[in-house]
């Protein structure tokens, strides 16, 4: 494999940065690929951790590879195959999974050709055979690579409890044979709802306690759009994509000099105009499908009203009232009721 850098010595800090960069941008992609063939997330995690460790050892000497992601994938696949082979020797019966993992060829890896199996991983995490309350944490953990500790903090439960529940869910995926696959056409409507709920969960939890909020918002948006494109005629999928886009658009104005700035006091000039346009386009797409307004579309429409302040300079309170009343009718959550009460009292 050709290396971009001098093979003699790459500074350790540079190696760490490259490895961390690869971990941040491709953790979920690599994990999804590794786990898809075996359905064993725990094994894939171990293999990936080994690969990162090996990178920290060998990259300072051999240089950072031209394609760090492909390098990590190959090393992790080797590791995974070794573990499966030794397990197969122990039980005398060859494990099916061990045979299906192909030998990696480092020279032929094209980063653009590495398939994205995150969507399949998402459907596995949000499978109805997995307890509903662990689906979002499991998704955050596997697709986004958050540590159990950080997720526990966001969900306000003890770290040991969260870690245990995550391990149990991962074991259950393997034990019950939950597929890493897109559901059949017949199963799709129900399964899609679970996936949307789980993606929505990443948006509603307390992000202040989690690091790297910005990159996660764009990842959530990417997943929502990918899910929406998968089933183009499902308005709620586009509604969720619109909701995340419009909400993230205001992120730059939400924290100024370390302090939280509420809706009404935000400086609209800090909002991301590109994301607002993107969100509005998704929302129009959802509305054009002409079905009764679901929860995500309504929440996105509420975001849209707020974003409109950038254009008009004021907030249309009547529109907000109508939308919040509709939202409370469709999804009477505590948050929605509190928000409605706030808008009503503000009038």
């Amino acid at each position: 494999m050709d290396d971009l850098n001098s093979p003699d010595c790459t500074p350790h800090s540079e190696v760490r940065t490259a490895a961390e960069q690869a971990a941040r941008t491709s953790y979920g992609r690599l994990l999804a690929l590794l786990a898809a063939s075996t359905r064993d997330i725990l094994l894939a995690e171990d293999a990936l951790a080994d690969a990162f460790e090996q990178a920290m050892r060998s990259w300072p000497v051999s240089g950072i590879p031209a394609n760090p992601e492909g390098w990590l994938l190959s090393v992790a696949r080797n590791r995974q195959r070794d573990v499966l082979r030794s397990a197969a020797r122990r039980t005398s019966d060859p494990l099916e999974a061990g045979e299906t993992v192909p030998a990696p060829d480092l020279s032929s890896i094209d980063p653009d050709a590495i398939p994205d199996k995150r969507l399949e991983l998402l459907f596995a995490c949000a499978h109805p055979a997995i307890a509903a309350d662990i689906r979002t944490p499991l998704m955050l953990h596997t697709v986004f690579g958050f540590e159990a500790r950080a997720i526990a903090e966001a969900f306000r439960i003890p770290p040991a409890t969260m870690a245990q529940r995550l391990v149990r869910a991962k074991r259950r995926i393997r034990a019950t044979g939950i597929p890493f696959a897109l559901p059949t056409r017949a199963d799709m409507p129900e399964r899609l709802g679970f996936v949307l709920e789980a993606i929505y969960g990443t948006y509603t939890i307390d992000w202040e306690s989690l690091p790297r909020e910005a990159s996660l918002a764009s990842e959530s948006l990417f997943l929502a759009v990918t899910v929406a494109a998968l089933r183009e005629t499902e308005p709620e999928s586009w509604g969720l994509a619109a909701l995340i886009a419009l909400s993230s658009a205001r992120a730059p104005a939400r924290f100024v000099e370390g302090g939280f700035v509420p809706f009404g006091e935000q400086d609209p000039s800090l909002w991301d105009v590109g994301l607002i346009r993107e969100g509005e386009a998704y929302l129009r797409r959802a509305h054009s499908l002409g079905q009764p307004l679901g929860r995500f579309q309504l929440e996105a429409a509420i975001q849209s009203v707020h974003c409109d302040r950038l254009r008009t300079g004021t907030t249309d309170r009547d529109a907000l009232l109508r939308l919040y009343r509709a939202l409370v009718a469709v999804a009477p959550t505590e948050g929605a009721k509190a928000a409605l009460a706030a808008v009503e009292s503000g009038n």
């Binding site: 019966d93 499978h127 044979g177 939950i178 696959a181 059949t184």
Partner: protein, 124 residues
């Protein structure tokens, strides 16, 4: 993967609560189900059990065996049948479970096999 589909349903037939036509409809449905599984090449074995009133239990108590009738657990649904199938994954197994005729009358449990005995040896 190998899955066992466990059918639980109320034992109405045993108490003469169903007329002959209803019994025949049920039998025909089970016949169709087994034939469909067989034709798809996934059926490994199928058992429809006699009512739980025909159960006899053996228990080891203080180094001795105790044999008794029952158990007659006070639950509405009882284990009534078992289908062992080979399916690629849980979704495929659930697909078959949904087609079990008894799903109209009671819960259908889907459980993967850990290990099974075949040709004189335990195999995974």
């Amino acid at each position: 993967m190998r899955y066992t589909i466990l059918l639980h349903y109320p034992e109405l037939m045993a108490q003469g609560e169903l007329d002959q036509a209803a019994i025949e409809r049920g039998q025909a449905a089970f016949n169709r189900y087994a034939s469909d599984l067989d034709a798809a090449g996934v059926l490994l074995s199928a058992e429809v059990l006699q009512p739980s009133t025909a159960t006899t239990t053996v228990r080891a108590v203080d180094g001795d065996f105790r044999i008794q009738d029952g158990p007659f657990a006070d639950t509405k649904e009882k284990l009534g049948g078992i289908f062992v199938i080979e399916a690629s994954d849980l979704d495929a197994a659930l697909g078959w479970a949904k087609q079990a005729p008894s799903v109209e009358w009671g819960p259908v449990e889907v459980r993967p096999s850990g290990i099974h005995f075949e040709n004189g040896a335990w195999t995974t």
